[in-house]
Symmetry: C2
Subunit: 410 residues, 2 copies
C-alpha cells in the first residue's frame, strides 16, 4: 500500500462535515415519503465540481443509478446530489426510470443548474413506486446552506435503520494550500423488503480533473468501502460519489503530481473512517471487527482473506460470544481462495497470539476473553508467503441481527 | 441434467442402510475420545471395493485427508473406512500425520487387510492431539456386522452436534441385477473450536472400475453435497467416500454402458437425500429451504444462483420470520455472478408467484405467510435466459444458530 510521504500532516477534524470543503452546502428535510423523519436531502456545490462514482456490483440496479451514471458520464461534473430515503425506486420498471429522471429535472430547476449536473439517489423499500407527489414539492423546499447543522440534516435525511449518524472530515496541505475532505454515509440498516444499502458521499475542495478523481475513488474504494461486510449482501442501490470543487486552488492533481499519494491517503482516511462507522453500525452489531492480514502475495489477496474472515458467520458469532476461537479464523482463511502455506500461519487476537506456524500456542483464555469484550476487536493474521497487507471490517453476529431481519416486514 | 430413462425404477428403501448393498458390514462403539457417546466406527467390505473420494476445498486440510487420498490413489480399492468423532486431528502438524497413519495401520491389522485399503477420517475439535490411547484399543474392538443396528451404531459414532441420524438407501436394476446404494452422513453440527464438518459415506454393490466411480462421484457431488449450505463455511475435514463392492454382478459400469445414467441418477438420489437431511439439521435450523433455479445459461450457473439464494443470511432470516420477502431473493440473485437479464426474472414462494418479469405481482401475504410456516420451503426462480436448471438446499437462520455458535466454547 502506498503511503503519503507527508502522512503526519493529514489531520482529522472532529467538527468537520461535507460542507467543510470550500464551495459546498447541504440541506435535509421531511417531505412525507417517511412518516416522520427527514427523508430528502441535497449536497450542492456553488460551482462546477469534478465528480466520480462507484456503484453496486449487483446486476439488479435501481433506476437512480442509471441516471446518476448518465449525469457523470456527460461532463464528469456535478453540482448537486439529491437523495431520498424511505423508497429505493428499485424493481420499478420504466415508470421508475421516468421518476428518477423527473427527480433530476426538478432538482436542476430548483437549483437553476443543468440537469446533467445533478445526481439522484434513493434508498428504502424496493418494488414500490416512488412517492413523486411528496418528493417534487420537497425538492423545491430544499435550501442548501454551509452550516454544520445543514450537513447534519442531510445526514439524517439519508438514514434508514441506521442507529448513528456517520460523517468524517480530514485536512491536509497540497501545494501549500489547505485541502479539506468531508464525508457522510449511511448503512448498513435493512431496507424493506430488501437489505443493507450503503451510500457514501465525499466532498473535497481539491482541484483534480474528473478522470483522475475516478481513478482515485476506485483505488480508495477497493481499500475501504469494498472491504466492509455486514452480511455479505450487496444492494441494488449501493453508491459512492465524490465531488471536488477545486476551490482550494492547488495545482490540479494527477498521478504524476508530487503529492498525489497525499491526496489518495487523505481520501482513503475519510473513506476508511466512514467504512468503520458503517461496519460498527451493522444490524444488531455490538462490536467492530477489524481484520489485518499481512504477509500475503499481494494487496488484493490480503484484502480478500481479511474480508473472508470478517464476513464468516462463525467468526462473527465467536466474537459476539467472546470466544477465542482461532480455529474458525484459520478455516475462513483456508477457503478464501488466496495463496497460502498451510504450515506458516500466525494468528493473534489483539496482542494475544493463538497460532504460530499453524500450530496452537498456549494462551490465557481469560485474557483473550477480556480482550474480546472490547468494542473494537482486532484480528491479526500473518501468512508469511509475501509482503503485502490489507484490512477489512465487519461486525459481530447477534440475536438482534436475527430479530431485526426475521421480524421486519411482518 | 441427464435423467435416467428408467427413472421410475429407482426406489427408496426406508429401512435400508450402508450395509444393505452386498458385501458391507459396519460397527460403531465408544472408545473414550468423547465422554459418553459412540465415537469410533468402521465400514467394512468383505472383498476389494472400487473406491473414490471428494475432499474439502479448504486449503487447510486435516491429516486423515492426506492419508485417505494416499490409500485411494494406490489401487483405487478400499475395504474399510475407520472414522472417529470428538477430535478432528486438524492443525496438529507432523504428529497428527503420524497418528493418522497409525490409525490406518491399526485398522489394517485388526481387519487383516493391507494398509492401503483402509481410509481414515476424523471429526471434532481442531488443534488437539488425537487420543491414540483410546483409539487404538477401540479399533481392535470393532466387530463389523451386516445388521441394520450395526449400521445405526456407525451412524451414531460419526455424529457430533447432529440432532438426527442421516441415512439413505435406494435400489435399481442394472443389467437385470438388483443394485443397492446405502448412504450415511454427518453435519452440519459445529465442531469445537471449529465448524460444520460434513462427512458422507456411500456404499453400493454395483460393479464399476475406480476411475469411472470417481467420475460419477464428482459429477453427483457437484449436484448434491456441493449444493448445500448452512453458513458458507467449509471445514478442514469435509469428505465424501464411495465404495462399490461389485457383488451385484452387473456388467462393469462406464459412461458408454446403456444404464450409466441410471447408475448416476441412483447415486444422485442417495446423495441428494443425505444432502437435504444435512441442510435440514443445520445448526439451529427449523426449516429446510430448497431453491430451484430454472432458465439459466447452464447447469453450473443455475446451481450457483440457487446456492447464493439458499446461503443468503437475509433470505434465511426472512424464511425464519415467515416473511415473503422476494426483494432479498432477487438481490441475492443479482450478486451471484451469473448471466441474467434484470427484466425477465420470475420468483415464486411455493406456488405463490411474487415477481413476474422482474415486476412485483400482487399476492396474498396471508397465504404466503402460511406457506412459509411449512417445514420445507421451496423457492422457485426462472431467469429466462437459457434452459438449464439446478437446485440448492439450506436452512433458516435463527436465534438458536447464534446461541449455539456464540456460546459453544465458553
Amino acid at each position: 500500500m502506498d503511503t503519503a510521504s507527508s502522512t503526519e500532516k493529514i489531520v482529522k477534524i472532529d467538527e468537520g462535515s461535507i460542507v467543510s470543503p470550500k464551495g459546498f452546502k447541504a440541506d435535509g428535510l421531511h417531505s412525507g415519503v417517511k412518516k416522520k423523519r427527514r427523508d430528502l436531502g441535497v449536497i450542492y456545490c456553488d460551482g462546477p465540481a469534478s465528480s466520480a462514482g462507484v456503484y453496486t456490483l449487483n446486476k439488479i440496479q435501481a433506476a437512480p443509478l442509471y441516471v446518476t451514471k448518465e449525469s457523470i458520464a456527460e461532463e464528469g461534473i456535478l453540482q448537486a446530489i439529491i437523495v431520498n430515503s424511505g423508497n429505493a425506486n428499485s424493481c420499478t420498471g420504466e415508470e421508475g426510470m421516468r421518476d428518477a429522471y423527473k427527480m433530476r429535472e426538478e432538482g436542476a430547476s430548483a437549483l437553476n443548474i443543468p440537469a446533467n449536473r445533478v445526481a439522484v439517489t434513493s434508498t428504502g423499500v424496493i418494488g414500490e413506486k416512488l412517492n413523486m407527489d411528496k418528493i417534487i414539492p420537497g425538492i423545491h423546499q430544499l435550501k442548501p446552506q454551509g452550516t454544520f447543522s445543514s450537513a447534519d440534516e442531510f445526514n439524517e435525511a439519508i438514514m434508514t435503520t441506521d442507529i448513528v449518524k456517520k460523517h468524517s472530515c480530514y485536512q491536509t496541505e497540497i501545494d501549500g494550500k489547505l485541502v479539506t475532505f468531508g464525508g457522510v454515509a449511511k448503512g448498513s440498516g435493512m431496507i424493506n423488503p430488501n437489505m443493507a444499502t450503503m451510500l457514501g458521499f465525499v466532498t473535497t475542495d481539491a482541484s483534480i480533473e474528473p478522470q483522475y478523481l475516478q481513478q482515485a475513488l476506485s483505488e480508495v474504494t477497493d481499500r475501504t468501502f469494498n472491504r466492509i461486510t455486514v452480511d455479505g449482501d450487496t444492494s441494488t442501490n449501493d453508491m459512492v460519489v465524490v465531488m471536488a470543487s477545486g476551490q482550494a486552488q492547488n495545482e490540479a492533481l494527477h498521478p504524476g503530481h508530487s503529492q498525489w499519494n497525499t491526496f489518495i491517503e487523505a481520501l482513503c482516511r475519510t473513506s476508511e473512517d466512514l467504512s468503520k462507522k458503517i461496519a460498527r453500525d451493522g444490524e444488531g452489531a455490538t462490536k467492530l471487527i477489524e481484520v489485518n492480514v499481512r504477509g500475503a502475495k499481494n494487496e488484493e489477496e490480503a484484502g480478500k482473506a481479511a474480508k473472508q474472515i470478517a464476513g464468516s458467520d462463525l467468526v462473527k458469532t465467536a466474537v459476539y460470544g467472546t470466544d477465542a476461537n482461532w480455529g474458525r479464523i484459520i478455516v475462513a482463511l483456508g477457503y478464501s481462495e488466496i495463496e497460502l502455506n498451510p504450515d506458516t500461519i500466525d494468528i493473534s487476537l489483539g496482542a494475544i497470539q493463538t497460532l504460530k506456524n499453524s500450530t496452537p500456542v498456549v494462551f490465557s483464555e481469560e485474557n483473550a476473553k477480556r480482550y474480546l469484550e472490547q468494542d473494537t476487536v482486532q484480528i491479526f493474521v500473518d501468512l508469511h508467503v509475501g509482503s503485502a497487507e490489507g484490512k477489512a471490517w465487519g461486525c459481530d453476529l447477534t440475536y438482534e441481527y436475527v430479530r431485526i431481519n426475521a421480524g421486519y416486514r411482518t
